[in-house]
Amino acid sequence: MRKTFMASAVLAAALTLPAQAADYKVGLLLPYSGVYASLGNDITAGFNLAVEHFGKDLGDDTLTLVQEDTEVKPPVGLAKARKLVLQDKVDAISGIVSSGVLAALRDFVHQTETPLVVANAGNDQMTGERCSPYIIRVSFSNGQVNRPMGPWLVEKGVKKIYTLAPDYAAGRQMIEAFSKSFTEAGGEIVGGQFTPFRKTKDFGPYLTAAAASGADGIFVFYAGGEAIGFVKQYGEFGINEKMPLYGSGWLTSPLYVGAEGKAADGVITSLNYSPSIENPENERFQKDYMAAHDRAASEYAVQGYDAGRLIVEAIKASGGDKAAFKKNLSKVKFSGPRGPLEIDPATNNIVQNIYIYETKVAEDGSTSQEILDTVEAVRDAPNGCQMN
């Protein structure tokens, strides 16, 4: 059913003559100040690269971008979204780093029927019980990234796990998803804690507790500065010598892994992207990103890149018809740096590969990621999602 639908959309695009042309306006709603500013900048850079790569042949259609700063504050994000829709009259919004901002925007974009292409925020509910036909997520859901690690670890003989994550909605969702799949596969969670979010810099007390828990390994979700602090301290306490570390891939993101030093060696994590994925799309993406920004593209940049590509492809498929554009956003599918991608019609969350990879730190301190396993086409259960 879905396949024929896709085919007809593509066919329609091919057959439509450029008689009709539309000027599309897309709002990029991202944090450009505050703690997540670097993420906002990476996503923007990726988005712009996609427009450069795929937006050359738009025909008579045009695409303009309007950037707005959410300051990572939900009320500010909502105010800016209203401005984009009501004043700038954008056809779609893309971006959104924080789950809190996404939660604040949800009702507004749903009621105004403004497509929102989410390029990071992973809140499970937004493609679950609070899903909307207008919220399309090209990044990930918190559950999606962590679920595959449960059975995988059990299969590798890891039976007992101690978990740690920051105490906020995303941290809890990530750990809950992992714990569920891990115990279902026969593993046991022997303990765990949620650390005060963005207040914990000293993980010593928690690491000491984890080391004394008798677990086979530690599973954590930390990102950014917390990830650096956590992995370094994990090494300093010598726990890397007796207890392996697993987690969501942000723990060993290429953005921070350099600062984590030797302790990151051998850490196994799962994520929807790794720079070491081997396919022509990723090679082109990484090469051009490096040329433009003089650094390797992060998992955030690739989400911006795919969000941009999704929007451009939807424009191409719509032949200047803006109503068709709204519908086509969730029908586009393509193979990108992350591998094959499509939007699940049941939830509007992305269906994508999850990569389980190991971080290697060489003697000279340089780091690389070795992909151990690829879990293909990971799809979320609807979890109470009813479209319309």
């Binding site: 900048n41 804690q193 914990t200 650096i228 370094k232 306490f237 921070y256």
Partner: protein, 291 residues
């Protein structure tokens, strides 16, 4: 787990190490509070200065020890400049003016860090000599953290000797107790305050660079450390070395064991202690000035 003495000992060390960091930060703040009633919310920003400058020095010279020695001096100079340009003009104004002036400084530093060092967290490596761990009671503990504990204790000892056994120390104590009287006795309180303020900045910078290998360096680290430091100062009582060390130990241990034993309350414990102290002993536990 809780009956394992090795485990409890390591948690005790964790608490001690956090306490020492708080001590390095709070002692300078407390004495400037006590000496001139000066409220400096930018103290956390000076701590972050120490960490950021330390990071850059470590990168340029390739040596943590160079950063460890030079960054606090650089922060001390920044503090001296701030004092000359701004702080001197408001030091006799009310707490509101001082809070706001230093709040303005927080804003300026916040963006200055982002412009100069970017938004990403930066890692600093511990010196090779200390980048190892030792075994105590069957547990592993990072040597660098023991160094931090020793550093805090050493600073406490030096300050104690300086305050109790030297003329300058006597002048400081006299001025904290009664600035007018000290001034009549020929103490140049203004100059003394400047010296104490600079020492406070030096210690804040030292805390920043010393904490960098453990916590990494990132924008916003100033605000995170500011509140626990202020809590220590108020609980301990203004202007006293004893207050600063006791307050630091209380908050450090409370945080550490709270996180492990009652994680649900860990976020609020220090506020509860602060609230209780303010109600029961509004002047703090060991205020330097008798009322």
């Amino acid at each position: 787990m809780l009956t394992d003495p090795g485990y409890l000992f390591v948690q005790f060390l964790n608490g001690l190490q956090f306490s020492m960091l708080l001590f390095l930060l709070s002692v300078g703040l407390s004495v400037t509070f006590g000496l001139m009633n000066f409220v400096n919310l930018a103290h956390g920003a000076l701590y972050a200065c120490g960490a950021f400058i330390g990071y850059s020095i470590a990168v340029w010279t390739g040596s943590f020890w160079a950063a460890f020695l030079l960054a606090p001096l650089a922060v001390c100079v920044i503090g001296a400049v701030l004092y000359g340009v701004l702080i001197r003009q408001v030091r006799s104004a009310g707490p509101l003016t001082q809070v706001l002036l230093t709040f303005g400084l927080i804003f300026i530093f916040l963006d200055a860090f982002r412009v100069i060092w970017g938004d990403l967290a930066l890692g600093v490596s511990a010196p090779t000599l200390l980048a190892t761990n030792i075994h105590i009671f069957g547990q592993t503990y990072p040597l660098y953290r023991l160094f931090l504990i020793a550093l805090g204790l050493a600073v406490y000892l030096i300050l104690w000797l300086a305050l109790e056994r030297t003329n300058i120390g006597a002048m400081v104590r006299a001025s904290v107790d009664n600035a007018e009287m000290a001034s009549c006795l020929g103490v140049n309180v203004e100059r003394l305050f400047f010296a104490v303020f600079c020492t406070g900045c030096l210690l804040a910078g030292l805390a920043g660079v010393a904490a960098a290998p453990i916590f990494s360096v990132y924008p916003g680290m100033d605000l995170e450390i500011l509140i626990p430091t202020l809590i220590v100062v108020v609980i301990g009582g203004l202007g006293s070395l004893k207050g600063a060390i006791v307050g630091s130990l209380l908050i450090g241990m409370l945080q550490t064991f709270g996180q492990v034993l009652i994680p649900q309350l860990a976020g609020s414990l220090s506020y509860i202690l602060l609230g209780a102290t303010l109600i029961l002993r509004p002047e703090g536990l060991f205020p330097a000035r008798a009322h």
